[in-house]
């Protein structure tokens, strides 16, 4: 914790936004706008992670997944929209194909934990972070504070033990 506080202090002193803030803020506004379009038109609140369980209902009869059956079709459409929307950016304003250097084992293991955690914890960065915070929901404030702090601690620890990206 002391190490983290020290690192935080140094980072803020140096330059908190080495890449500027414009594209971050504009991207965030568009993320919110995407949710707003769906909400205003349909009354549905579109978080990204329910898609995981609702899509599992196509192949599994477990009650946990079948409860999402009514929304599973539109969640597939929403997710396809996200994939294509990101592609439109990459191949118009963006720099085309981009590939990560994060190791596959980190992506896979992190993905497993994200998949468990988002469903047990009732939301992810978009469900709690965007829709829940936008709803001034106490559960979402607690959820966001929890996963932000734990993620910061985890990332710092992973770096401290020398696992490079």
């Amino acid at each position: 914790m002391i190490l983290e506080a020290h690192a935080l202090f140094l980072a803020i002193l140096a330059d908190p936004f080495p890449n500027g803030i414009a594209h971050y803020a504009a991207g965030g506004v568009l993320v919110g706008l995407g949710v707003a379009i769906i909400y205003l038109g349909t009354g549905r609140i579109a978080g990204a992670s329910t898609f995981l369980e609702s899509t599992l209902s196509y192949g599994s009869t477990l009650s946990r997944f079948q409860r999402y059956r009514p929304s599973r079709d539109w969640r597939v459409v929403f997710t396809l929209g996200i994939v294509i929307g990101a592609g439109v950016y990459a191949f118009t304003l963006g720099d085309g194909v981009w590939v990560t250097d994060v190791q596959p084992w980190r992506l896979f293991l992190g993905g497993v934990l994200v998949g468990i955690g988002t469903r047990v914890g009732k939301g992810c960065t978009s469900g709690h972070g965007v829709c829940g915070v936008g709803s001034a929901s106490p559960a979402s404030f607690v959820g966001v504070a929890t996963f932000l702090l734990i993620a910061i601690g985890t990332a710092q620890l992973v770096q401290a033990v020398g696992v490079g990206i």
């Binding site: 936004f17 769906i38 038109g41 990332a155």
Partner: protein, 155 residues
């Protein structure tokens, strides 16, 4: 089809359009790149705060405005409601597990879908992992009594 959106012809197009804007925004903000998320968690670039706050301000104004001033959603007739979940230990335990995964990999669900769109195929390791994780908790929680049957409608 037993779906809830008994079928205004514009329902799916509007959901798709919302997804397009959402995904475009994630790619523009570089959240589709795990390295950028990790650089935030490592205190190298605090831009992610603007992404989250920018998005939450827009949804906040939209949700509260719609609830206050509009009658119901035109394509479904559904009432506008806030996204409220019960605050219990699951929120903290699940949030903690999510945080370890997010901190280890730099990926979260929406950003991972967007990452496919920018051609980042290794992200599929992460997405397969997410399905495995969602399945494991669903398997395990389907065999235990359900404390809150209708709590998790959308997120």
């Amino acid at each position: 089809m037993s779906a809830e959106h008994e079928q205004h012809p514009l329902f799916m197009p509007v959901v798709f359009a919302g997804g397009l804007v959402f995904g475009f925004g994630l790619a523009l903000s570089n959240m589709a790149q795990p390295e950028v998320v990790l650089s935030f968690l490592l205190f190298e670039d605090f831009g992610l705060l603007f992404v989250m706050f920018g998005a939450a301000v827009v949804t906040g104004v939209t949700f509260f405005g719609a609830i206050r001033f509009l009658d119901g959603a035109p394509l479904t007739g559904g009432r506008y409601e806030r996204r409220l979940k019960t605050l219990d230990t699951n929120v903290v335990v699940g949030g903690g597990i999510f945080g370890v995964g997010w901190g280890l990999s730099g990926i979260c669900p929406g950003a991972a879908y967007a990452s496919i769109g920018i051609g980042n195929l290794p992200i599929l390791y992460g997405i397969v992992g997410m399905f495995v994780g969602a399945y494991v908790q669903g398997y395990w929680r389907s065999s235990t009594p359900d404390a809150e049957p209708a709590a998790a409608k959308a997120d």
